[in-house]
Structure formats: C-alpha cells, structure tokens
C-alpha cells in the first residue's frame, strides 16, 4: 500500500468539485482512498494527522491557492494518478452550460448578460465580500452563501445594499426562493400564498417543505444569514424583506423565522410586523412570547407553519399534531432495552436551525444540554469535537465547513462523529436530521445508514440498545424523494418523525425518562 501527496500550484476549485474529483479518484481500480483539497493550513494539518506529507517540501509549502491531492492505494495506481492528475480534474460542462470559455470575472459575465439580476456568491469567505460588493455596484441583488465573512464586512455590504435598493441575502445564507427559483439548498416546493423571511437556512427549508406537504406553497423565501437580527446588523435584510413581501401581490402571509434577535432589533422587527398590512407570523426559536404583540407568535417551525396556513385560509394538516402521550409511550418502549449507564441524547445535525430548535424543545421541559451553538441557557461544548451529557452538534457550523463542503453535501464528518458517539457507552438516543434538496447529497440516508447500523450493533454487543430518531426535511418532489428516504430509514429501524420538532420532542420525552430512572 502506497501513500503520497501531489501539489498543483495555483489551482483553485470549489470544495464541492474537489469532493467529487476525490471520489472519482478513490473509485479507480487499485486506489483505496483519495482526497483533493486546497492547501490551507487547516487542511494540511488534517492530512499530516493522517500521516501524509512528512518530508515533502512541496506539501509543506502548499498554500490556500494550491491544490493538494492525497493518494492511498496500490503503488502502481497511486503512481499513475500522481503522474497524470489532469484527467481527474477535468470539468465536464453542466447542462446547458453555454459557450466553452467561461467569463473570468463578474464584470466579464455582465458584459455577456447585462440582464443578470441576482449574483450567487459562494467563494471562500475572505474573498466573498469583494465579489458581493462588485455585484451590488453593478445593480445586482446578492445571494451570499459563503461563510466566514467578518461581521463588519456584512454590515458594510448591507448598508450599501440598502442605499441602492438591493438585497444582500447572507453571508452564510443557505437557501432562498425568488421569482419561482429555488437557490442554494432549496427544496422543490410549489408556489403559493405564504411568504417568509428567514435568518435560518434549514429553518426556511423545513418551513417551506412543511407548507408544501400541507398542500399550500411559498410565494417568496428570503434568506438573511444568521447574524442579520443581531443588534450589530440591526435586521437590515429582514426589514427590507418584510417590505418586499408586504408589497408583493402574490404574498398573503408574511412570516419571519429566526433565533432570538438582539433586544433592539427584536423590538424593531416586532414593531414592523405589527404595522404590516398583511397577517404576520413571528417565529423566534427558543424565545418567550412577546407580551401583547398583536402578531401571531410561534416557538417552533411547526407552530409557525400552523399559524401561516391558518392566516392563508388553508386547512391544517394532520401531520402537524403529534400526540404527546404517544411520543412518551414510544420513548418508553425504546428505552426498555437500555444497558446500565446509557443516559444521554446526542443530536448530530446537518441543519443548524434544526439543531437550535431541538435545544428549544429540550428547554421546554427544563432539560439542560450542551451544544456548539447553544441556545441561551444551554451550555457551550468546551470542545465541539467531543460531546458532553445531552449534546446537540451543528456540523454545518463555520468551524466544520472551512475548506470543505457542507455536511448536507458531504457526510464524511457526520459519519465520523456518529461512529464516535456509537463508541460511547453513555449514549442512549441519537437524533439525526436528513435534509433533501437540489444541491444536497443524492442519498442523505444512505450516506449514514451503515454507520447507524454499526453503532446499533456496538450497543447490542454491550448488552444495550441504541435508539435512533430522525426527521427528513424535504418534499416528494425533491430528487432524493421524501418517501424513499423515509422508507430507507424505517427499514433500518430508525424512528422517523414528520418534522424536526416532533423528533426533538420524542428525544425530550426520552431524556425526561432517562433522568427519572437516574441511570
């Protein structure tokens, strides 16, 4: 078995392309594993930890603009790829990709298509503000997917956008629905009367998917990025989004979905929604109901969907109403086979909002938990790579996605964490989310099921039982298929709930029982 690295100087590719190229290389006969990454210090450190690059000067000197291939396999196969890596890095033109030579800059692109109205920006964070600013100055709205953009850059961009009458959605904006188009991680949802502004990417996905599953639809969905409602940013995009939805003839209900805002911004958003000319729904995960607000308030995404559907005159679907007694009974049945010492719930999320919502659902029962992105009142994990007590980990947090694809696209990190939790004899319940959508993994359930089965087998060999609870965010029109994903999880013995809030409520009931048993 041979291992080596190959450095290609000044070669930039996006992290999704590199993941796909690495998979193609690893599938070559004779290869055992391969990775393709930019030579950032963090990436090099990980490779060094795996035993790559010792004494290799090119590797030691590789920088963030250089491509590093790490190859492992039979000597002849590794040597063949290393000798001629180019075919593995050739881009195939996407569907309808147009002329062979692509523009090298935003300005060049706009010369070709002066009618562009929206720029999607997903370059590394340190370069993202520059591209976004160029787009604003050319009169374009910006969907800013990149994370790791400094807050002062965000504020400057949003002030400039406001002055120009444009929207900056992001940074760290996962999803939007504009003019019928789903951007980023968007799910396949029909158009309808419900409008939403969300400072919560998977929150928007879950909300839009549930509205669709109820038979209604989304007029527009405006993402703002998670920091928009901090007092530093002051809700600049949220407030502009509410204005736009209020003026939009296709929108009958205006929904705002976020984590608890900064106090000054909360007051401003509440005041704006109070004088909204359309029915308004405010969902602040984990926040207390504002007194006498005159606005429909929701503490979970499910409640927000219920309020929005009611305001739009649409019937309430049965799936929104889970019977608490049934959840409790189901939890009790699952916990019957535990071994002594199995005490904790561990939530491993690809969706940050679903992670946050799960904490809010736990807080309803006064339960304490740890998280890498904690709700106020919950503990922060001292080491995000290591769980403690009941823990909720958002694997899409900036720390985990620097230089690598989001966990909705690449399940590698979540698989590794799942294996780690499975090896911990204190774990009684695993809580997982599976997020479907245009850009997500082709098979989110399949990516994790063998790791789930291995963790359950480990628990069984210890004389215990590992309960796995999950929800699937998406619709039957998504390429992965809501029904197919749910069925695959069911077959593997995973308890699948209709919504993220219900899966979290099941785990909350389990945690209450685990606490009572004092195990």
């Amino acid at each position: 078995m041979a291992r080596r690295t190959v450095v290609l100087k000044n070669r930039y590719y996006d992290s999704v392309f590199l993941m796909q190229a690495a998979r193609r290389i690893a599938a070559r006969p004779g290869m055992r594993d391969a990775s393709a990454q930019l030579g950032t210090p963090a990436n090099r450190q990980v490779l060094e930890g795996l035993g790559y690059g010792a004494g290799d000067r090119d590797f030691q000197e590789a920088g963030p603009n250089d491509l590093v291939l790490a190859l492992e396999g039979e000597a002849a196969a590794v040597a063949a790829v290393a000798a001629d890596p180019e075919p593995w890095l050739a881009r195939s033109a996407g569907p309808g990709a147009g002329p062979a030579r692509e523009p090298r800059s935003l300005a060049e692109a706009l010369e070709r298509r002066p009618d562009c109205s929206v720029a999607l920006v997903s370059v590394p964070g340190e370069h993202a503000a520059r591209e976004a600013r160029a787009a604003l100055r050319a009169g374009l709205h910006v969907f800013l997917f990149s994370s790791n953009v400094p807050v002062e850059e965000e504020l400057a961009l949003k002030l400039e956008a406001r002055d120009r009458g444009l929207l900056v959605m992001g940074p760290d904006c996962g999803t939007a629905h504009l003019g019928g188009a789903g951007l980023g991680f968007a799910n396949a949802v029909r158009r309808g009367p419900v409008g939403i502004v969300a400072a919560a990417g998977t929150g928007l996905q879950e909300f839009a998917s549930l509205v669709h599953r109820a038979g209604s639809g989304i007029s527009s969905g405006i993402g703002t990025g998670g920091r928009d409602l901090s007092d530093r940013i002051g809700g600049l995009t949220t407030l502009a989004g509410i204005d736009a939805l209020e003026a939009d003839p296709d929108t009958r209900v205006v929904t705002v979905l976020a984590k608890p805002p900064g106090p000054a911004t909360a007051a401003a958003v509440l005041e704006r929604l109070r004088r909204c000319a359309k029915p308004a729904v405010l969902c602040l995960l984990g926040a207390r109901r504002p007194e006498g607000s005159g606005v429909n308030f929701a503490a979970t995404i499910d409640e927000a969907v219920g309020c929005a559907l009611a305001a739009a005159g649409h019937p309430r679907p049965d799936f929104l109403d889970a019977d608490p007694a049934a959840l409790r009974a189901a939890a009790a049945a699952e916990l019957a086979g535990l071994a002594p010492g199995q005490r904790f719930v561990r939530g491993l999320f690809s969706g940050g909002t679903l992670c946050y919502q799960a904490q809010a659902v736990f807080a309803q029962a006064g339960l304490a938990a740890h998280a890498n992105a904690p709700l106020p009142g919950m503990g922060e994990l001292p080491d995000p790579y290591c769980s403690l007590g009941h823990s909720f980990v958002d694997l899409g947090a900036e720390l985990f996605v620097r230089g690598r694809p989001h966990p909705m696209i690449d399940a590698t990190l979540r698989r590794r964490r799942l294996e780690q939790e499975g090896a911990d004899p204190q774990v009684a319940v695993l809580l997982l989310d599976f997020v479907l959508g245009a850009v997500a993994s082709r098979d989110p359930a399949g990516d994790l099921l063998d790791a789930v089965a291995a963790a359950r087998e480990t628990a069984r060999r210890r004389g215990g039982h590992l309960c796995v609870a999950a929800s699937v965010c998406g619709t039957g029109d998504d390429a992965q298929g809501l029904e197919a994903q749910t069925a695959a999880l069911d077959r593997a013995g995973v308890r699948v709930f209709a919504t993220g809030a219900q899966a979290a409520a099941f785990c909350r009931e389990a945690a209450v029982l685990l606490g009572k048993e004092g195990a």
């Binding site: 692109a109 562009c116 999607l120 600013r133 789903g182």
Partner: protein
C-alpha cells in the same frame, strides 16, 4: 427601493454564479438562465491586496 425589491420577487431572475458550480447546474436544470464565472482567487490569493487594487482602479 420597493420597486426594485418588488421586481426581485415578481420577475424571472437571471443569475450570475460566482463559486460552487452545483448551484448553477441546479438552476439551469430548473430552466433558469445562469452565467457561471470561472473564478480563482485574485492577486495571488491576497484578499486585502485585491480590495486595495479595487480602490485604486
């Protein structure tokens, strides 16, 4: 301002994609026009230098 934002929600957008190609592919597959930029880090990868150059030009 409201007019510009209203246009964003009402009109069929045309996109320019700077970054991850899958975003362009999924929009094209849904029937939208997208121009993909073949992006690479500017000025040898120095983000601050690139911003300074923007200000000079």
């Amino acid at each position: 301002m409201a007019q510009t934002l209203g246009g964003l929600l009402q009109e069929r957008p045309v996109f320019v994609n700077v970054g991850v190609r899958d975003f362009a592919d999924s929009l094209r597959a849904a029937g939208y026009d997208v121009v993909q930029v073949d992006w690479s880090p500017p000025a040898g990868g120095d983000a601050q230098l690139a911003v300074l150059l923007d200000d000079l030009l």
